[in-house]
C-alpha cells in the first residue's frame, strides 16, 4: 500500500495553479509565447522535486512532477521543464553518484543552469532503441557519433546524451558544449510553446570522466528515461484537455444563439459529456502510470503506453471539439485555443505516436497469458 500523498499533491497543485495562472495572465497579449522565468520554477522547488535532499531537492518521486506537468499543460506554459526537470533531473537521478553528476544535479536543482538530454523522442524510442548515439573506440580514446532530432529544450543548456558504449550498454555522456564535432540547432515547430532542437555528434572525442553509468540495469534505466518523457507528455495533454473542457463549458453557458445559451443545446451538451469522459479515462490511466513509474514497477512501460496513447489521442479530439464549440471565436488567434491544439498535436507525436505505443502493447499478446493488472 502506498503512502497517501493526496493532500500534499493538492497543495502543490493549488500553488502551481496560482503561480502559473498569474504568469499566463502577464504573458497574455504577447505576440509570441514567453518562457516562464526559470528561476521562479527553481525557487518554487519544482525542478528538484525528485532530487535527494542531500543535493538540495525534496526527495520526492515522479508523482510530484506529474502534478506540475499537468498544470503546465493546463496553461500551455512555455518552459524547459520537460528538458531540464523531467529528462535532465530524471536522467541524473538514475545515474551512479559521482562528483560530476552530483555537482550538475545540485546546480540544476538550484536553478543555476539547465540541462537537456538527447534521447530518441520518435516512435523508435518506444520499445526500439532509445539511444541515438554510440561510443566507439578510436585510437586510444572513445568517440561519440549520432544524431537526435526533436530534443526537448536542447539549446543554450548543458548537454547529456544517451548512448551505447562499445559493449552496447547504455550510458549517459556529458558533452562539453564547445566540443569539436557537436552541432546543436533549434528545430522550429508549429507549437511555439515548445523548444526542440537537433543534436548532431560527429566524432566527438570523449573522456572517461564524462561517461556516466546507470545505477541499475542499463537497458531498464534507458527505457525508464524515455518512458518518463512519454508520461510527462501525457500529463501535459491531460492538463490541456481538462482546461479546454472547462473553457468550453463556461463559454457555451455565456454565448447565446437562437435565443438560448448554446450550452443548453443537446448537441453541445453531449459533446461536452464525451469530452469529460475522455478526460476522466485519461486521468485514471495517467494516475496509474504515474504510480507505476514513481514506484519503479516492472510493468511500468505498459501503463505508460496505455496512458500516452489514450490521453494524447483524446487531447487532440477534446481540444478540436472545444475549438468547434467555441465557433468562430475559437478560430481566432486571440482566443488562444490554437495554442492548445498545436501543443496537443505535437504531444501526440512526441515520444511515440499512439500507434507506436499500441504496437508495444500488442507485442505482449503473442507471449503467453496476459498479466492481469490488479494493483
Amino acid at each position: 500500500m502506498r503512502v497517501d500523498l493526496t493532500e500534499f499533491h493538492d497543495e502543490l497543485r493549488s500553488v502551481a495553479r496560482g503561480l502559473l495562472g498569474d504568469a499566463r495572465a502577464r504573458a497574455d497579449g504577447a505576440e509570441l509565447p514567453t518562457p516562464i522565468d526559470w528561476a521562479l520554477l527553481a525557487e518554487s522547488g519544482w525542478v528538484g522535486l525528485e532530487v535527494p535532499e542531500s543535493l538540495g531537492g525534496s526527495g520526492g518521486s515522479f508523482a510530484e512532477q506529474a502534478v506540475i506537468l499537468h498544470e503546465l499543460g493546463r496553461t500551455v506554459t512555455m518552459s524547459s521543464y520537460l528538458g531540464s526537470a523531467v529528462l535532465g533531473v530524471g536522467a541524473l537521478a538514475l545515474l551512479e553518484p559521482s562528483p560530476g553528476r552530483d555537482e550538475l544535479l545540485r546546480r540544476v536543482t538550484a536553478g543555476d543552469l539547465r540541462v537537456a538530454v538527447a534521447v530518441e523522442t520518435g516512435d523508435d524510442g518506444v520499445g526500439g532503441d532509445p539511444a541515438p548515439f554510440r561510443l566507439d573506440r578510436a585510437g586510444g580514446g572513445l568517440r561519440l557519433d549520432g544524431r537526435a532530432a526533436f530534443v526537448p529544450d536542447a539549446t543554450g543548456v548543458e548537454l547529456l546524451v544517451l548512448a551505447r558504449d562499445p559493449e552496447s550498454a547504455f550510458v549517459v555522456v556529458h558533452v562539453a558544449l564547445d566540443a569539436s564535432g557537436l552541432h546543436i540547432a533549434e528545430q522550429p515547430v508549429l507549437d511555439a510553446t515548445r523548444s526542440l532542437g537537433e543534436v548532431l555528434a560527429d566524432g566527438i572525442e570523449v573522456s572517461d570522466s564524462s561517461i556516466w553509468r546507470f545505477r541499475s540495469d542499463p537497458g531498464t534505466s534507458a527505457q525508464r528515461l524515455v518512458d518518463r518523457g512519454a508520461l510527462a507528455i501525457a500529463c501535459d495533454s491531460l492538463g490541456l484537455a481538462e482546461a479546454m473542457v472547462e473553457a468550453t463549458v463556461s463559454y457555451t453557458a455565456e454565448r447565446r444563439q437562437f435565443e438560448r445559451p448554446i450550452g443548453s443545446f443537446q448537441a453541445v451538451k453531449h459533446a461536452c459529456a464525451d469530452m469529460l469522459v475522455k478526460v476522466l479515462v485519461s486521468r485514471e490511466l495517467i494516475d496509474a502510470a504515474v504510480q507505476a513509474v514513481a514506484g519503479g514497477d516492472a510493468d511500468a512501460s505498459t501503463a505508460v503506453s496505455m496512458a500516452k496513447s489514450y490521453a494524447c489521442d483524446a487531447a487532440v479530439d477534446v481540444v478540436g471539439k472545444a475549438l468547434q464549440l467555441h465557433g468562430g471565436i475559437g478560430y481566432t488567434w486571440e482566443s488562444g485555443i490554437h495554442a492548445y491544439l498545436k501543443r496537443a498535436m505535437l504531444n501526440r507525436s512526441l515520444f511515440g505516436a499512439p500507434a507506436a505505443h499500441r504496437r508495444r502493447l500488442a507485442g505482449r499478446y503473442g507471449a503467453g497469458p496476459l498479466a492481469s493488472s490488479q494493483a
Binding site: V249, A273, V281, S309, H357, R358
Partner: protein, 399 residues
C-alpha cells in the same frame, strides 16, 4: 486492512475459485432449458453462499460484512477464474436488499433478507411501455383502500419475472401530483391474484424480459417502502447506491475473460497458418481495447472507493455506465468483425455467462441491453453535462 491481510484473502479466494468453479460449465450450459438454467443458478448461489461470497456487500448481521477492499479482490478473482455470473439472484441481492436496508422496515428486512439467502428471487417492476427512458412518467396506479393498495397497470422489461417470487414495484399513488411526486414504492408478491406475467422475446432470441399485467392486485399497506408518495426518491437513492460494485464486477469480467478470449481467438492459427494476431490492424484494435478496459477498471475502482469514502461525484456512476456500455458494444462489434463468418455460426451463448460469452455476434446484439435501458446513453450524456458539468438545462417547452 493491511496489505498482507488482503493478499492472504486473495490467495484464499483464488484457492476457492480453483476448487469450486466447474471447469466445463461454459460447455455444459450452452443450449440448456430454462429449468436447468434456473437450477444451475440456484445451486451456484448456494455454493457461493457457503463460502460467504454470495452477498459480501451486505451488513455482517445479515450474512455479509466484507470490506470494500476485500470485495474488490473477490470480484477480481471470480472474474480472473471465469466464474458463472449470478444472473437470477442479481436483483434480489442488489436492488432488493439495498432498498430494504436503506428504506425498509425492520420487519420487511427480517421477512426477506434471510429468504433471499435461501433463494427468494426478485424482479424489478419499474419500466412501463409508455415511459421508456422517461421513467418518472409511469402510469401504473396504486389506489389506497383501507389497509391495502389496489394496483392496476402494466410493467415492461421486467427481466426474469417468470421466475420471480417478489417484485419491487413503483406505482402512482397520487395521480394529480407532478410526475416525480406521487409515486410509491411497494413490495409485491408475484403470486398475488391479478398478476399476469408474459415473457417477450428479445433481439437475441431470448425470453428473459417479461411484461407484467397488473389487474386489481391487492398489496397490504405494510408492504410500502418508505413514505407514501416518496417512492421516486427511494428508487433513485437505492439505484445509484449499488451501481459501483456491480460495475466493478462487470469491468473485471470484461478485462479478464472477455479480453483474454478475444486475444485467444485472435491467436488461433487459421487453416492458412496465419493468425489474426499477425495483422497489424488487429493488433492495434486489441491494444486500443485493452487500454480502454484498463481505464474502465480504474474508473470503477475509483468509483467504489470514493463511494465508500463519501466523496463520489454526482455523475460518476453515469460516466461508468456510459463508458462501459459503449465500450462493450465496440468490443463485441470488433470481435464480430475480425472473427468474421465464423462468428456468425455461434447460435447460442452459454447460460450464466456475463455480457461477453465468446459468441461475438450474439454478444454484440446483447450489448444494446446496456446502451438502451437504465437511462439510454443519450440520457446519460445529458445527465453528465447538466449535473456533472453544470451546463444549462433544456429550456422549458412552451405549451
Amino acid at each position: 486492512m493491511a496489505t498482507s491481510d488482503l493478499e492472504e484473502f486473495r490467495a484464499e479466494a483464488r484457492r476457492w475459485c480453483q476448487a469450486h468453479i466447474p471447469a466445463d460449465w461454459r460447455q455444459t450450459q450452452v443450449g440448456v432449458s430454462d429449468e436447468e438454467d434456473v437450477s444451475f443458478q440456484k445451486a451456484w448461489f448456494q455454493e457461493l453462499r457457503k463460502a460467504g461470497y454470495a452477498v459480501p456487500h451486505w451488513p455482517r448481521e445479515w450474512g455479509g460484512g466484507m470490506s470494500v477492499a476485500e470485495q474488490i479482490v473477490l470480484y477480481q478473482e471470480l472474474a480472473a477464474h471465469d466464474a458463472p455470473r449470478l444472473v437470477l439472484a442479481f436483483v434480489s441481492i442488489h436492488h432488493a436488499a439495498s432498498t430494504l436496508l436503506a428504506a425498509g422496515t425492520e420487519e420487511q428486512r427480517r421477512r426477506h433478507l434471510p429468504a433471499i439467502l435461501d433463494g427468494e428471487i426478485w424482479v424489478q417492476g419499474f419500466s412501463e411501455p409508455e415511459a421508456g427512458s422517461d421513467l418518472a412518467s409511469l402510469r401504473t396506479t396504486a389506489r389506497r383502500e383501507g389497509d391495502a393498495f389496489v394496483v392496476n397497470g402494466q410493467k415492461l422489461w421486467a427481466s426474469g419475472a417468470a421466475h420471480a417470487d417478489w417484485c419491487l414495484l413503483l406505482a402512482r399513488t397520487d395521480v394529480t401530483a407532478p410526475k416525480r411526486k406521487g409515486i410509491s414504492y411497494l413490495l409485491m408478491d408475484m403470486r398475488s391474484p391479478g398478476v399476469d406475467v408474459r415473457p417477450i422475446r428479445n433481439a437475441s432470441g431470448e425470453w428473459h424480459f417479461c411484461e407484467i399485467f397488473l389487474n386489481d392486485v391487492v398489496i397490504p399497506a405494510s408492504q410500502l417502502v418508505g413514505p407514501e408518495n416518496e417512492g421516486w426518491r427511494v428508487a433513485q437513492e437505492t439505484l445509484s447506491a449499488e451501481r459501483g460494485m456491480t460495475m466493478l464486477e462487470l469491468s473485471e469480467r470484461l478485462g479478464n475473460a472477455g479480453f483474454r478470449w478475444l486475444v485467444e481467438e485472435c491467436s488461433r492459427a487459421r487453416p492458412d497458418g496465419l493468425r489474426l494476431l499477425d495483422d497489424a490492424l488487429v493488433q492495434d484494435g486489441l491494444a486500443a481495447l485493452e487500454t480502454e478496459i484498463a481505464g474502465l477498471r480504474l474508473l470503477c475502482r475509483g468509483l467504489v472507493e470514493r463511494h465508500e469514502a463519501g466523496t463520489a461525484g454526482p455523475v460518476e456512476a453515469s460516466v461508468v455506465k456510459l463508458f462501459y456500455s459503449e465500450l462493450l458494444q465496440r468490443m463485441m462489434d470488433f470481435g464480430t468483425e475480425v472473427v468474421g463468418l465464423a462468428a456468425q455460426t455461434s447460435l447460442h451463448k452459454p447460460g450464466s455467462s456475463g455480457w461477453e460469452s465468446g459468441a461475438w455476434a450474439l454478444d454484440f446484439i446483447g450489448s444494446w441491453e446496456w446502451t438502451i435501458p437504465g437511462g439510454a446513453s443519450e440520457i446519460q450524456r445529458t445527465i453528465i453535462a447538466e449535473r456533472g458539468l453544470g451546463m444549462p438545462r433544456e429550456p422549458e417547452v412552451a405549451r
